[in-house]
Symmetry: C2
Subunit: 407 residues, 2 copies
């Protein structure tokens, strides 16, 4: 994984401050050490799931589902995975029903994930699914130790795994929250963690990742009022769900009251997929208000050598320039062309990330890179990256509404 910045960011003091802050945080915040964990217990636990199980279903929402989905959807088309992953992550009745029709309950193992152990959506769906399939051995629960869900699982003698200490939902993908469903589907989680570890070591041990991460974080934080929108423009359909994971990580970590001021601050994440969104969003990037940074992500080697045939069509001869070009080359040329065109505008902060190939190691690196970047920017913007006080009020109102019905 390479990261090249096309903008200038030269603030050594701010960089040193941010680096020191995350170094200090490492002892306190749990996600930093996840790449170094011993995964033997998870691998061993996964062996308990019977061979006839064909589908793995996550019942969970937000941080409990987005990470596993991002990794699964990235590696699925190129790996022969042994099981299919499904997700229940909405209370939309039509969506629940559609997913239920796709699975065979007898050949499904459910992973119910709720850090707090009381997530409304998760339990609404769990109650529904459990009433259709009341066999606790078909369920594994993942939650905080001592949560109501933990106590429930103990009471009904169901299996429960734990979210490690001080790991927040949106930073939990490399914990059992993401690893268990991925292992069960056959994803190489050891490689996934190696990729993350590589970026971690490179950052903390003054390797090649330290400079771009620090420079980028300082630029984003210093210019948050001017460039209040941060786009990822990823040139592969495989990164669609990675973008969704990024949107949660970035938006929920950085949209905050500042710790030591009365101000609302925030950076707004947007996920784009190329070349499709050249036909949707590029016009706004080029000619719209200068309020956006853009990170292009491309895949160096798709390992899928499909060629555009050497075919000339009458009246369409101008398109013969496409002939005998491979699609992977074309998509990367499209990405390079858009970078070049936006660079020519002169006032759009661009950087590019090049991923070497499509595998678990690569997506592990990318995930850890974005987690580090988020922590750095949060520190520089004086916000707590790890809480989400702003979502509580809606929950309280919903609870009141539900209680009123019962009365």
């Amino acid at each position: 994984m390479k990261n090249r910045l096309y903008f200038i960011s030269n603030h050594p003091k701010a960089q040193a401050h941010a680096l020191q802050a995350v170094q200090k945080e490492q002892g306190k915040i749990g996600y930093y050490s996840l790449p170094d964990q011993d995964i033997t217990p998870i691998l061993k636990y996964a062996e308990k799931i019977p061979e006839h199980i064909e589908s793995i279903v996550i019942i969970g929402i937000g941080g409990s589902s987005l990470g596993a989905k991002a990794i699964y959807e990235f590696v699925k088309p190129v790996n022969n995975l042994k099981r299919t992953l499904y997700l229940f992550e909405s209370t939309d009745p039509i969506d629940i029903n559609t997913t239920l029709k796709e699975i065979d309950l007898e050949k499904t193992h459910f992973i119910v994930i709720s850090k707090s152990g009381t997530t409304v959506e998760t339990f609404a769906i769990y109650k529904y699914v459990y009433s259709l399939h009341p066999d606790t051995s078909s369920y594994t629960f993942i939650t905080d130790p001592g949560s109501p869900l933990d106590r429930y699982a103990q009471e009904v003698h169901a299996d429960v795994l734990y979210v490690p200490r001080n790991v927040g939902g949106r930073f939990s993908v490399l914990s059992p929250v993401g690893l268990l469903p991925l292992v069960l589907c056959g994803v190489d989680v050891a490689s996934l963690l190696s990729g993350a570890r590589r970026v971690k070591e490179s950052f903390f041990e003054q390797g090649y990742m330290q400079e771009p991460l620090l420079k980028k974080a300082v630029f984003y934080a210093k210019n948050h009022a001017r460039y209040n929108i941060n786009c990822i423009f990823a040139y592969s359909e495989l990164l669609k769900y990675f973008c969704e994971w990024y949107v949660q990580l970035w938006g929920e970590s950085l949209g905050k009251h500042q710790r030591h001021s009365a101000f609302h601050v925030g950076l707004t994440p947007i996920g784009l997929i190329g070349p499709k969104d050249q036909h949707s969003f590029l016009q706004l990037l080029t000619d719209g208000t200068r309020d956006k940074s853009i990170t292009f992500i491309k895949i160096e080697n798709f390992e899928e050598r499909m060629m555009i045939p050497d075919l000339s069509l009458p009246h369409l001869e101008s398109l013969d320039i496409l002939n005998s070009i491979s699609f992977d080359r074309l998509i990367n040329m499209q990405c390079d062309s858009v970078i070049e065109s936006l660079e020519q505008e002169g006032d759009i902060p661009i950087d590019s990330i090049t991923l070497p190939r499509v595998d678990a190691y690569t997506i592990g690196s990318l995930i850890y890179y974005y987690e580090l970047l988020t922590s750095l920017v949060a520190e520089l913007m004086d916000v707590n990256a790890y809480d989400q006080p702003g979502v509580e009020n809606g929950k309280v109102i919903l609870k009141k509404k539900l209680e009123e019905i019962k009365r």
Copy 2:
């Protein structure tokens, strides 16, 4: 369809100006009259497609694919559609290969859509697919009259339909571009157009839609520098692709150099899906910078009465408030709770759109509502909603790169 604004917008002069401008534009810009078209020729043409065809595949990108996909994905789960829709809308080789594996070429009809008749992505894919299945009777082409693609189709005696005069790609969903694939899949396009017509008449004939549309457009345009981001927060998974369509329409129409100034302006669209994005984006909406407006969309009647069972789980008794509530009621209560919580913040411009049910009529109304809103805002911001000059430079650079390879 109902639209309720929670913010105050009282600028009668600006409203009158915008109304007059779009009234004037009606004669010139083609999309306004699409709801009134005679669809007999499309229905008749669709009858020519053999009964054994099971899959309809769109080869097209941006305005050529997003609209049909939005409508298809909205009505699919509740209608018994007779054929399945697939899309080739990326040059990602892994994505192309994955889709190819899902279809049986012998049972597929392809619709190749390119307004200009020279879209690079579309022809790269068409050449590839055509080399696998070189039978022109399996393809219908949709393009501008006289385009290179039109001439090609004539030359090889293939069927070709036309994009009506002065209808831009992103405003073309209610033309053959969207209608043909939808008819072939069995979507009720007459209802779709009736829904659009209802909104059109209501707007132009001083009906219930005129006031909210004008007030909202004026507010967005006047405050474009302060609120530079416009979110849709739709409470149903069925509206996921509608959001993608909206993102293109809004971003590409409004991100422009102003007609009579040297300035870049633009409004940035974001599509969110509830309740999922309560666990992703809500924190940023609540506590982040005050730079966003939010339009909540909810569905009044899902016609899917799934109940949360009356099941009490040990240690999880606090969640008994969910028991015997239907999911459709729950999801709408979740939406109402979030609206209420954000309203309490006092400085976030919110409005809500209530859709009566899940059908073609409803999505037709919503689409036309957003097209009108886009035209109104563009007029007030002094930009041309119907061009996209900012995407040309990237195309020129790509062409150069491709030519260099050939040399």
